[in-house]
Amino acid sequence: MRIVAPDLEAILLTLRLAFISTLVLLVIGTPLAWWLARSRNRFSFIVDALVALPLVLPPTVLGFYLLISLGPQGLFSGFSLAFTFTGLVVGSVIYSLPFVVQPLRDAFTSIGDRPLEVAATLGASPSDRFFSVALPLARRGFLTAAVLAFAHTLGEFGVVLMIGGNIPGETRVASIAIYEHVETLNYGAAHFLSFGMLMISFGLLALVYATNRRAGVLRA
């Protein structure tokens, strides 16, 4: 087990990527989900479809376009995000967007108009209503969204392979490292990393379900 240190680095990098991506996703996804839940614009279905695209596209397609647009000849000419940690965050955010927007959108929709109307008649402005009524009522949606975003980013492979490559400490996340170990027939190291990922993912999901169950008992 002489490659333990770089593999630990890969796990820590994966967790860092998942954590940062989740934060960015909640910041971007919340207003987007709110707009989708409340909008009566008849073209909002286009935004719906765009947000859901990563669910059906092969990650390589997404990765390919990201590579083109984030590369030196891309959107930010002369400034490349390809093969950088920041590029990975951008890719993860787009890739996991539906996993944040859909639970949040469902949570916001299920609030209904009434609590917001009540708050309005009590003198709460639209932004006040969002923070003082919609956020607390949608709190379970936020938990679900955050966990799904985190877990989905942990499991990301295709997009990272396309735009991140395999730079230790920068873009070499756990899934890439496992792939590399298997390719080089280093099954011992692959076992170590895979088991680590398995435990982290299971621990995370178990925590969420335990929390949800306790909340359910309290509400009943």
């Binding site: 009434r114 609590p115 109307e117 009540v118 708050a119 309005a120 008649t121 009590l122 003198g123 709460a124 402005s125 639209p126 006040d128 209503r129 003082s132 009524v133 607390p136 009522l137 709190r139 509400r219």
Partner: protein, 352 residues
């Protein structure tokens, strides 16, 4: 006197509201009508929750006109919805504080409000541990805690069962007596409205059928061509005596005295209701009858209301009573304006 001036127009599929009203900004105004007549929509327009082609003027404040629309949170209304709609994640105190913190004018007194609505002991409870009636009382206190200039109530008793309603009514009564702001109270239960309202608006299929002082609207004939069972007299009477032997309370109003079998009331003033079908008419005063209350009256109007029935408006002193008799009886007695008759009152309901 300042008024709430409404000019509401709203077209929806299968529904049209077209209402022009000038409501007094004092006391309780009841809005009565069957389900689907536009009562709730009217309240929502006042509160700014419904976009419509309307104008709303509250005293000298323009809340809505073709040129401007004041958003609901800037209108000084307290709104009590049919369902209590308490914030489930806040305690009772949290719900009241939510409103108090957002009050536009001077801060309201939460302790006094919770005392008035009998929820002082519930302050630390969460909404889902309260009964329906308790939740609705908290909702009313919360609406008042926002320091509104007018209170809008949309069938606040509709979500309660009969027992809860009975338990709730005294609180409505104390609101009527204690509140200094005007109240608009929407209901499809005429008894609720007769109990607390001073003025009455009757809506039918999106337009106003009748409006005015409660007692005069409730006894006006043209209102009841569709549903004569609504016709009734509402009287505010003074308690002038109690005959313990017979369990009779003597109630005085400006048309005379009424004897009512009821426990001795602890208030000086009670509101009575006499259904039009509970008054019969005779030309000669009967003495050999079980009916206690017989008042001399003068016929002020006789209105045919259809289905072989006639609504007779009577003057008793300076009070108006309304009686319902059959068309046949009206012909036999030759009922006409100015005729002296005796009104035999078979039943008196004490509302409050």
């Amino acid at each position: 006197m300042s008024t709430l001036d409404l000019n509401c127009r709203l077209q929806r599929s299968g529904f049209c509201l077209d209402v022009a009203l000038s409501l007094p900004l004092t006391g309780v105004t009841g809005v009565y009508g069957p389900s689907g007549c536009g009562k709730t929509t009217l309240l929502r327009i006042i509160a700014g929750l419904e976009s419509s082609d309307s104008s709303v003027n509250f005293g000298d404040q323009v809340w809505q006109s073709p040129e401007q629309f004041l958003e609901p949170h800037k209108r000084s209304v307290g709104y009590v919805f049919q369902q209590p709609g308490l914030f489930s994640y806040l305690s009772v105190r949290g719900n009241l504080e939510y409103a108090r913190k957002r009050a536009a004018g001077q801060s309201t007194d939460i302790a006094a409000l919770s005392e008035l609505l009998g929820i002082s002991k519930l302050m630390e409870r969460m909404p889902d541990t309260l009964s329906g009636g308790e939740q609705q009382r908290v909702a009313i206190a919360r609406a008042l805690a926002s320091g509104p200039q007018i209170l809008l109530m949309d069938e606040p008793l509709a979500s309660l069962d009969a027992a809860r309603k009975t338990e709730f009514l005294p609180y409505l009564q104390s609101l009527h007596d204690e509140l200094s702001i005007p109240v608009i109270y929407v209901s499809h239960a005429i008894d609720e409205i007769a109990r607390i309202a001073d003025n009455l608006v009757v809506l039918h299929e999106g337009s106003v059928v009748a409006e005015g002082a409660l007692s005069s609207v409730l006894s006006s004939a043209n209102l009841f061509r569709s549903d004569v069972s609504l016709a009734r007299t509402v009287i505010d009477a003074q308690v002038s005596g109690f005959e313990a032997d017979d369990g009779l309370t003597i109630l005085r109003f400006d048309g005379g005295e009424l004897l009512v079998t009821m426990p001795q009331p602890d208030t000086e003033c009670v509101r009575l209701q006499i259904a039009a079908s509970d008054i019969s008419l005779t030309l000669v005063e009967q003495s050999d009858t079980s009916i206690l209350n017989i008042l001399p009256a003068q016929v002020a109007a006789v209105d045919e209301v259809g289905s072989g029935r006639v609504l007779v408006t009577l003057l008793v002193g300076s009070s108006q009573l309304v009686a319902q008799v059959s068309s046949r009886s009206a012909q036999q007695l030759r009922l006409a304006e100015g005729l002296q008759v005796y009104a035999q009152i078979k039943g008196v309901a004490v509302l409050a």
